[in-house]
Assembly symmetry: C2
Homo-oligomer: 665 residues x 2
């Protein structure tokens, strides 16, 4: 019986041998990862479809390209994307849109990312009626490519302090968009620099000298006929970044640019002709889109980590180095405990994060439905939780990817592994969509509310799983499971920092200063709470599984995750007397045992992520395991090797070395 469906002829026998160990059905695990067999099949269908398109023949590795070449390549693909998008994709399913997009552009960014995933959703969610229809038509006719310009050079996190202004001009019934300072320059918006011809601009709304805070406006930035920047607009690319070389993150400055009043986004707040301001009915909508973006982020972050695990685990079964007992042959490096300890917890995390992402996405859809019926109770909680999750997951995914990369030794440092770029791309997630330290404190803010409720013996906590169920039930430090220990750690950390915060305030310190004094502890309480949530969701996720083979391997990963997490928090476990050192050692030893149980399944588990080599942009993590000869081929096709002797060498160093008569060697 073959359980692993990734075996092919002419594969590296080292990987085939690994795959023959498989105890579960990789098709089933893959379907679980993508949500269902149908989704997995659709994803594979897209892969087949795209591979046949003319734009995808003889693809050159983007890592060898200048940014100009990358834009040439991806603009071409963008046109192809729009050509096939409406016929091939059910555009009402965001998941399908994302899958189709990913197969086109991999994780490497594109000129149309913001248009698809931020600009269009904003039109759908924050415009209504005629206004919406107007812009939607332009988009559907492919006449506009748009983005969303919020962040400024001087302000990201503190939106209230954005400096761009939109001043209502009664005489012409229009808004004047202006960038009053250098720091007010819009900075970072994806695809703003070179690609988009319109953008949503978030600006402080001024009417009759009064500021109404940040609002959204649609602004045309480039001429539709020749794509040149319109008068009053200074625009460009912000220059190279850690990753995302395919994306023209841009800057724009407005020198009193006039737009019609109707270009303000008017589904919620409105400005009437003459300047009358109509307040929005409720202000929860901002939460909604933030939660949506973050739940997508969780799945993305899990995916980056899963890719890194795939590369590291496959390569670790190809690479042989050093000996154990048998001196006749070097061992696969994955047989070393240190290698397993570096990589397998990351694999366990990839599944934990993916399960959390799936859960939050489902919950968001439910909460969003409630919202239309006027019930927004769970929104703030969900927002706080996703803030914490976003922070913890993005940070841990980064650490994990780097462990995977380093576990590949020197080759992990080469772009041939794909890992440097996976890391550099992923790690942006610690910063965008809310800086992590700020996010943790948002999560902590809610924890402090719960702590107050506990202290006052109130019982006002809603949304069991989201927050606080264990604060209600908490009785003593007797813990029977790791979940209970994590709960106790979170509970104690939260109550400790709550007490310290209040002590400082009681001593006369302002709330702001006291909070700042406790900020590091508040962040750590938030992290502990996220641990509880992950543990809970991971357990639920595994418990619900039916297939014994799949349940068995994911159960192994879940066990490993729990133990690793507890050891990570062992200082708190000891401090709060939840466990003693001896029992902690037992858990550690049993974690080492888990590693050896996962070892024979490792390749099959990562195979089941169903990533193609192209998805991961990797040579080192190739499915077929034929690594070394392809490394050489890859290198030989790289930039510098287009010259037998570099022009610069002929110009400078060769004349120098030839300036003396050579001795005969």
């Amino acid at each position: 019986m073959v359980n692993n469906y990734y075996i092919q002829a002419n594969d590296n026998p080292e990987l085939t041998a690994e795959r023959k160990n498989c105890t579960f059905d990789t098709q089933k695990l893959a379907a679980l990862y993508y949500g269902s067999k149908e989704k997995l099949d659709k994803r594979r269908k897209f892969d087949e479809f795209i591979k046949k398109l003319p734009e995808f023949q003889n693809e050159k590795s983007s890592i060898f390209m200048s940014r100009l070449e990358r834009f040439d390549e991806n603009s071409k693909k963008s046109v192809a994307f729009f050509d096939h998008f409406l016929t091939e994709v059910d555009t009402s399913d965001p998941n399908e849109v994302a899958m189709f997009y990913e197969k086109f552009f991999s994780y490497d960014g594109s000129p149309i990312a913001l248009h698809l995933f931020v600009f269009l959703p904003n039109i759908l969610n924050s415009m209504a009626g005629e206004q919406q229809q107007y812009w939607l038509n332009l988009a559907m006719n492919k006449q506009i490519i748009g983005t969303y310009s919020q962040t400024e050079m001087g302000h990201g996190t503190n939106l209230r302090k954005l400096e761009t202004t939109a001043t209502y001009d009664k005489e012409t019934d229009s808004f004047i968009i202006n960038s009053p300072t250098i720091t007010s320059t819009k900075w970072w918006p994806g695809n703003l620099g070179k690609t988009c011809n319109v953008t949503i601009v978030v600006a402080q709304l001024y009417i009759d000298g009064k500021c109404y805070g940040p609002h959204s406006f649609m602004v045309q930035i480039r001429n539709f006929d020749n794509h040149k920047p319109l008068p009053g607009i200074t625009i460009g690319d912000i220059g190279p970044k850690f990753a995302f070389a395919n994306v023209d993150n841009g800057f724009v400055r407005f020198n009193n640019v006039k737009i019609p009043r109707e270009h303000m986004f008017m589904k919620y707040a409105k400005v009437e002709k003459g300047g009358k301001y109509i307040k929005p009915l409720h202000d929860k909508t901002a939460y909604g889109s933030m939660i949506f973006v973050r739940s997508i982020m969780l799945l993305q972050q899990a995916q980056y980590l899963a890719m890194a695990c795939t590369v590291a685990i496959r390569y670790s079964c190809v690479r042989r180095q050093g000996e154990l007992e048998d001196k006749s042959e070097e061992v696969k490096v994955l047989d070393y405990q240190t290698q397993q300890y570096r990589i397998f917890p990351q694999l366990a995390k990839a599944w934990a994060f993916s399960a959390a992402g799936k859960y939050i996405m489902e919950l968001f859809n439910k909460v969003n439905k409630d919202l239309t019926s006027g019930n927004a109770d769970l929104l703030p909680q969900l927002h706080c939780l996703t803030s914490g999750l976003k922070s913890v997951i993005s940070f841990q995914a980064g650490l994990g990817i780097e462990q995977c990369r380093m576990s590949c030794g020197g080759h992990g440092y080469s772009h041939a592994s794909g890992l440097p770029n996976i890391y550099a791309t992923q790690i942006g997630g610690c910063t965008y969509e809310g800086e992590n330290m700020v996010m943790l404190q948002q999560c902590a803010r809610y924890l402090m509310k719960i702590a107050a409720a506990v202290k006052e013996r109130k019982n006002e906590m809603k949304g069991d799983k989201l927050f606080g169920y264990y604060f209600k039930n908490y009785h003593n430090n007797k813990c029977n499971t790791i979940l209970e220990m994590l709960e106790a750690i979170s509970y104690n950390k939260t109550m400790d920092v709550y007490d310290r915060l209040n002590k400082l305030k009681a001593s006369g310190m302002s709330h702001e200063l006291a909070w700042n004094n406790c900020a590091v502890d508040l962040c750590q309480a938030a992290k502990a709470h996220v641990s509880v949530f992950l543990c809970l969701i991971y357990n639920e996720f595994v418990n619900k599984l039916n297939d014994p083979g799949v349940k068995n391997v994911l159960g192994l990963l879940k066990d490993l995750w729990e133990k690793y997490e507890l050891l990570h928090l062992s200082s708190s476990a000891l401090k709060y007397n939840l466990i003693n050192g001896k029992d902690l050692d037992k858990i550690k030893i049993s974690l080492y045992d888990d590693l050896t149980k996962i070892r024979p399944q490792a390749v099959s588990i990562v195979d089941s992520f169903d990533f193609t080599d192209r998805d991961m942009i990797t040579v080192l993590g190739r499915r077929d395991g034929n690594v070394y000869d392809n490394l050489l081929k890859w290198a030989q096709s790289s930039e510098l090797n287009q010259y037998e002797v570099l022009p610069s060498h002929k110009k400078y160093l060769l004349p120098m070395t030839k300036s003396h008569e050579k001795s005969k060697l």
Copy 2:
């Protein structure tokens, strides 16, 4: 009285205000960092000298260049380097050579790095007499540029398994260098790909069918007249990496390339005409060069971290975001506890690592002197210790740099900050010169010897500070200082894993498997031992200081480091009953206090690293603090902004958006 000498007119007043808080003499701290006032002055003199050279006028940011452009730029500078090297530099002082080199090429790599820092030292150390003179002459006449080719595609760490062969051919009295497999391809040597015309090759020496293990051979790889690869030699660049775009890390394959017998390095082992092999007198020499390279690495790693701290701290005093008590003005982000907690421990580490690097460098010089008088006793210990230090410091520096980078928010992700490149460059240190997990186990190997000696109540430990002094003295778990707690943790971790290792062996497991079973714990014991060493050296370093101002700030950093380190190891401290939770909390609170004490000195401390903006390749960390307008200028000069409309846009997306008649907007 002005203590901070980095204040200039037209600086950002935010930084000037910070600098006016300075309580110590920045000149003195800078002199301490570089070793002496003379060295600091020499470094500044080099900076002035180079800035005036024609090759350094109107430098373009390397981050905007293709690799070909980078090679053009750096080849030009390499010729200038050789032009001035002998007249400007005392070449007998490796420190001065390095300083001069750094001012030419920053940390960004060059075509001549390996020639200067690996190739020439190898000729000096592993050749003698006529042979040495011959190659040295060629080098001094700038006729050869060389490198050192050891690592192969399939083998790095396990040198015994290198596959390249050097077979003695009696008939022609020569060696035949050959690459028998794909995996035997030499892979990674710096400057091998395009620049060098000769290389040292490490190959298995075969005489009459017998293998004598790896030896070094000098091999010409390119024609001296036209720089083309010689017959039988396939050579090229290995392609792009995480960083080091300026370096042509290369590959080379030898197809039975014949070299004269005399091109074997013959200071130690020798092959006589006819094929008689003469064994080297002793085999400790390999240790020497490894220790030397690693002690340089420690200083380099400290420097990368110091640079990241400089950028992060300066920018954190320019950036204002959010409010505390005073609502009239946003606060400098460095006033947030979370920001201080992210950055200041990194600053404390930079100094810890630098102190350790200085100590090891001095000790190495001493030990090296002993060596010439035949005393090699300390060498194995020193080798093990530097293995551990290299591993811990490179890993922690990486984490620290990323914390600094993330603390700069979005701008930290831009190459304008310099931080992505500092990280990507630094983090290679976890892999090169010995993969970190292997390094830690080398360190642990020695710890196991000490543990055995303790168990057998032997007293055979030498070199007090290097190893084991606290194993000798260890009595109970009563600890009065953090140093003593770190000692106790290291002692207990070592003895625990020693016991487990022996229990496994007693149960019938082979040494190799038992070791592998304990490998993670062995690594952690090694890390704990490195903590003790760092703590000891840091204390010594601070205690020796005379200047009260300097001593005060470095004392603050040392205190912070100790507390941070103990909290990092607090799980062990609790497990071994060295401290209770309450006292641990007190240490934590006192750490938070330390942060606020360091806060007003932070800018002045990093100023004293005396890095120029050019050294750090940064806009965000500029000395003058004029960040925002320069960010804009930097962006505007970047690659994509050379076109108002990208050629690719005209080609693909503009025709698409224009394909429909536009509605009037």
